[in-house]
Amino acid sequence: MSEQTPSPAPKKTSKHRGRKATLLVLLIGVAIGILFWGGFNTAMEATNQEAFCISCHEMEVNVYEEYTDTIHYTNRTGVRATCPDCHVPKDWVHKFVRKIQATNELYHHFKGAVDTPAKFEAERFRLAQNVWRTMKETDSRECRNCHEFDSMDYTKQESRSAEGHQDAEEAGLTCIDCHKGIAHSLPMQYDPEKDAPGKSIFYTQQD
């Protein structure tokens, strides 16, 4: 009774085969998933380049032209900020949300909503306010991709800047409160006298 005949080699039951097949399919699925995810991300990053943004003519001749005169385009050190650095959040969730919102921009591009300089000027104030409002609400998240109050060396700034930045930090202000018009022309309807930091009317006015 104690001696048992050696049990035969485990038969390749269909259950066993089924498990193997499942594992294989799973592995292949994971591989495809990685490929798909990489491809999706590559495609999304391809739309996140300056060259892509200015492939739309209304962007190239209007806002890009204005930006080429500014410090974010060319400066002493050659460190630049291009379209996505300021207009597309870097973290994935916010980036994805912004990309979905961008389908609205695609729609208006194909509709020809701002395809002449005159049409663009007519919309500039509203579009600028959209950006200002978003920046105000996110505490200038995209500016803070590169700039930080805590890392500012106030001994290297002019006294106006050093005082201004320290006062702004204490008052809970954000970059966009003072630094509007830093990359693109300000709209005609912008009035610097109504844009006192902390008391600006341009975050809510819609006309």
Binding site: R160, E163, G164, D167
Partner: protein, 145 residues
């Protein structure tokens, strides 16, 4: 007699006039106070950065528009808006710690007081200028006004 005097005068004056004109035309005879010819661009005072001087500069005469004590490269005065007013207008100067535009700038040419900057004063840099970091050539003895 008359002809020879005329001839003599002409002989003396024409070459002198020609030399003087030639000199003025080439600009070689005209020197700035710094000792360079006016057409000489190698004077490095021309290329010095504009200065930032907290507290400002001493004025040189009674009616002088105060000089701008900071660089203004990043601001513009254009058809859209006046960049200076961002800090120097009555509604924004306190938050920005900046001197407000003078009273006189609110009067139009008929002497009427306006509630905004007079249009004739729109282009600030027609009168106000920043200063380059070049050594003054003449000492300012005006004092305070």
């Amino acid at each position: 007699m008359k002809r020879s005097i005329t001839a003599l005068l002409l002989a003396l004056l024409v070459p002198a006039a020609a030399a003087l004109t030639a000199g003025i035309a080439t600009g070689q005879q005209v020197e700035s106070l710094r000792g360079h010819a006016v057409t000489d661009a190698s004077d490095n005072a021309l290329n010095k950065q504009t200065m930032a001087v907290p507290g400002g500069f001493a004025v040189g005469w009674e009616e002088q528009p105060p000089m701008i004590p900071h660089p203004i490269d990043k601001y513009s005065i254009d058809l859209r808006q006046n960049g200076c007013l961002k800090c120097h207008s009555p509604s924004t100067n306190e938050a920005n710690n900046a001197p407000v535009v003078a009273e006189s700038h609110f009067y139009d040419r008929d002497g009427q007081k306006l509630d905004h900057l007079a249009p004739r004063r729109y282009f600030c840099t027609q009168c106000h200028a920043p200063q380059a970091g070049a050594m003054p050539l003449v000492e300012n003895v005006f004092g305070d006004r």
